[in-house]
Amino acid sequence: MSAFSALKIQPPQLHGLNSKKFAEKSPSCLKTISNPFLGSIQRIPNLRRRRGVSDLPRAASPSTIVAISELVKEKTSKSAASGLLITREEGLELYEDMILGRSFEDMCAQMYYRGKMFGFVHLYNGQEAVSTGFIKLLTQSDSVVSTYRDHVHSLSKGVSARSVMSELFGKTTGCCRGQGGSMHMFSKEHNVLGGFAFIGEGIPVATGAAFSSKYRREVLKEECDDVTLAFFGDGTCNNGQFFECLNMAALWKLPIVFVVENNLWAIGMSHLRATSDPEIWKKGPAFGMPGIHVDGMDVLKVREVAKEAIGRARRGEGPTLVECETYRFRGHSLADPDELRDPAEKAHYAARDPIMALKKYIIENNLANESELKVIEKKIDEIVEEAVEFADKSPLPPRSQLLENVFADPKGFGIGPDGRYRCEDPGFTEGTAQV
């Protein structure tokens, strides 16, 4: 993990890329499809062979910056040779954040099966490196926009475990007072802009947040170099909203980083069956922004790439598209039986668990020892358990909360039968659920 694996040329997997032929075979052909992702940094070279152009990304974008995979690779291997990528404090911080994400999600699963949590719950196990790698580089005023798999993004950004857990239990002490739920985590204080159920929905919102940062700096002449991160998955990269926003972000040089958490699966639909060109990072140069592919199971590599991308955005050089190859250890949601994924593929990625990898790095490079890491794990366990207790003891939202926050100006409810505004009637807050 500390050194990059050499470029591996995979044998042609053509039949896997032709979705029609693929679908006719039995699911056992999934085994062959998962091969291209076995530890490689460069992806499916046979695509290039098919097109007859060996350096496709350069041809695609004549402008300054193209895919920086090679650039980043060189830089990181240089520094890996000369020194370490992180200091001790940073290492422990990253470790703690990833352990928090993992324990929290595991606890969510437990609570769901005990009936304390309900509805749709999408867990982030296995993808912690992406969240930690990126979000730990942000300041409080930078924003994060996510999808329904947003618990860990909120936690990394600083929302307390207690308020996230209460929100999941539907209690009034949650970060959205129980009105949002698992998929809609919002926090103004920590600039977590949600939490959207529809994929692709968060991307234009994130682009807007980046736009406001640029606007504040240039039009309102405020000191503002806030960056926005938009997290979304591989399925989203086929959606129209994604492309529209790539275009506008590059056109206006917005301070945004588009982070693709490519975990290869959208519920039961494999990325290869859904996408004509599965290499998502290539879509960046098509719109005039750099596209980077990085191993999303390695938090240090993600962090290096994130530093570059966030630095670019902060300096006003425009957006970046980062594709993180990662994997979710659990099903799409807790209601997903997860039968379509090949166990060999799952086992392969379980062996590349980002937490184990970071632990190994820390211990091998003598940044900390086993017992210090254990102390962190114990501390996190306590935090998560305390969060559950807090959420358990918190009250359910009162009836009056049903009609609150529909409008910022509650006069939006109109004028009642007695001629006064409805919101001024004391009976209104008791709620009349029949209408």
Binding site: F120, H184, G235, L396, P397, E430, T432
Partner: protein, 378 residues
């Protein structure tokens, strides 16, 4: 008048239960919630099986019918409605799409222009909002804009309305939005028989049909008559069904709310109020005749729906009744709808935001002047 209505209802094919006479009428309200088999040999079928069998039969009868949507193939359907169809018909007819509602809905419409009959599945109708431009502007308006040259024989189907604890973006009811658009037909089944008959009718229909199912009804079992199991069984679009006859108050509902209305009718009958429950089945075209005839008989009306109150289905029914049967009304029309708020997540708030059986009972009693007026109710 009553004889005329009966005749209309019978000729409309809403026959299977009415034809068996009054005994069936008494039993029907409880049916969905008991799993007894009846001496008439009625088979039980879940709504899921009904939809699956309808799709299966229509696909085998007409090779132009194909199914398109997210997770409909290998995953066997996000709610298992299309189970087994991929194995049977192959990937050319059961298409797993990428997550691009606008894209694949548009593709379906283009295919329909050339005579194919796509069935587009939305994982929930909330996601249809990403495609609503195509549903309204391409599908609904094409036949009109092309002066009859291009018709769009397709079906948009999927679960609609609130499920359990899924938050504001997954719980909206789209019946009134789609039903307000000319050029579309909007159907909403309740029982398995409804599901089978209406889906088959929708697939055979030459116009775009929005088929609103309900996730919580998928697992519920209902008895189906032998006639409903026949592969040529269809129900007419535009006819409502009187699920339970009564004399004192009419309750109209569709989809899951029909079950609630039937239970409410049971409770009301113990208090001496005999409620007539109408299962709308078809939101556009709305069966105004059946509703008005019923109101002229009972003189009181309660409309029930799950969606937002303003500009909802109940609003349209109320206006229709006022336009056509104003003199027959003995009490103001009671309209029950979901709360006028985005669906909250917390379980207790969610229960308050969706009509419950007690709300229907209270409204029916108010319509019968049997309780206190409408002020803040505890």
């Amino acid at each position: 008048m009553l004889g005329v209505i009966r005749h209309k209802a019978l000729s409309g094919g809403v026959v299977s239960s009415l034809a068996n006479g009054q005994s069936m009428q008494r039993i029907i309200p409880g049916i969905g919630f008991l799993s007894k088999s009846f001496s008439s040999g009625a088979k039980e079928m879940t709504v899921r099986e009904a939809l699956n069998s309808a799709l299966d039969e229509e696909m085998s009868a007409d090779p132009k019918v194909f199914l398109m949507g997210e997770e409909v193939g290998e995953y066997q359907g996000a709610y298992k409605i299309s189970k087994g169809l991929l194995e049977k018909y192959g990937p050319e007819r059961v298409l797993d799409t990428p997550i691009t509602e606008a894209g694949f809905t548009g593709i379906g419409i283009g295919a329909a222009y050339y005579g194919l009959r796509p069935v587009v599945e939305f994982m929930t109708f909330n996601f249809s909002m990403q495609a609503i431009d195509h549903i309204i502007n391409s599908a609904a308006k094409s036949n009109y804009m092309s002066a009859g040259q291009l018709s769009v024989p397709m079906v948009f189907r999927g679960p609609n309305g609130a499920a359990a604890g899924v938050g504001a973006q997954h719980s909206q009811c789209y019946a009134s939005w789609y039903a307000s658009c000319p050029g579309l037909k909007v159907l909403s089944p309740y029982s398995s028989e409804d599901a089978r008959g209406l889906l088959k009718a929708a697939i055979r229909d030459p116009d775009p049909v929005v088929f609103l199912e309900n996730e919580l009804l998928y697992g519920e079992s209902f008895p189906v008559s032998a006639e409903a199991l026949d592969s040529s069984f269809t129900l007419p679009i535009g006819k409502a069904k009187i699920e339970r006859e009564g004399k004192h108050v009419t309750i109209t509902a569709f989809s899951k709310m029909v079950g609630y209305a039937l239970k409410a009718a049971d409770i009301l009958s113990k208090e001496g109020i005999s409620a007539e429950v109408i299962n709308l089945r078809s939101i556009r075209p709305l069966d105004r005749n059946t509703i008005n005839a019923s109101v002229r008989k009972t003189n009181r009306l309660v409309t029930v729906e799950e969606g937002f109150p303003q500009h909802g289905v109940g609003a349209e029914i109320c206006t229709s009744v006022i336009e056509e049967s104003f003199e027959y009304l003995d009490a103001p029309v009671e309209r029950i709808a979901g709360a006028d708020v985005p669906m909250p997540y917390a379980a207790n708030l969610e229960r308050m935001a969706v009509p419950q059986i007690e709300d229907i009972v209270r409204a029916a009693k108010r319509a019968c002047y049997r309780s206190v007026p409408m002020a803040a109710a505890a």
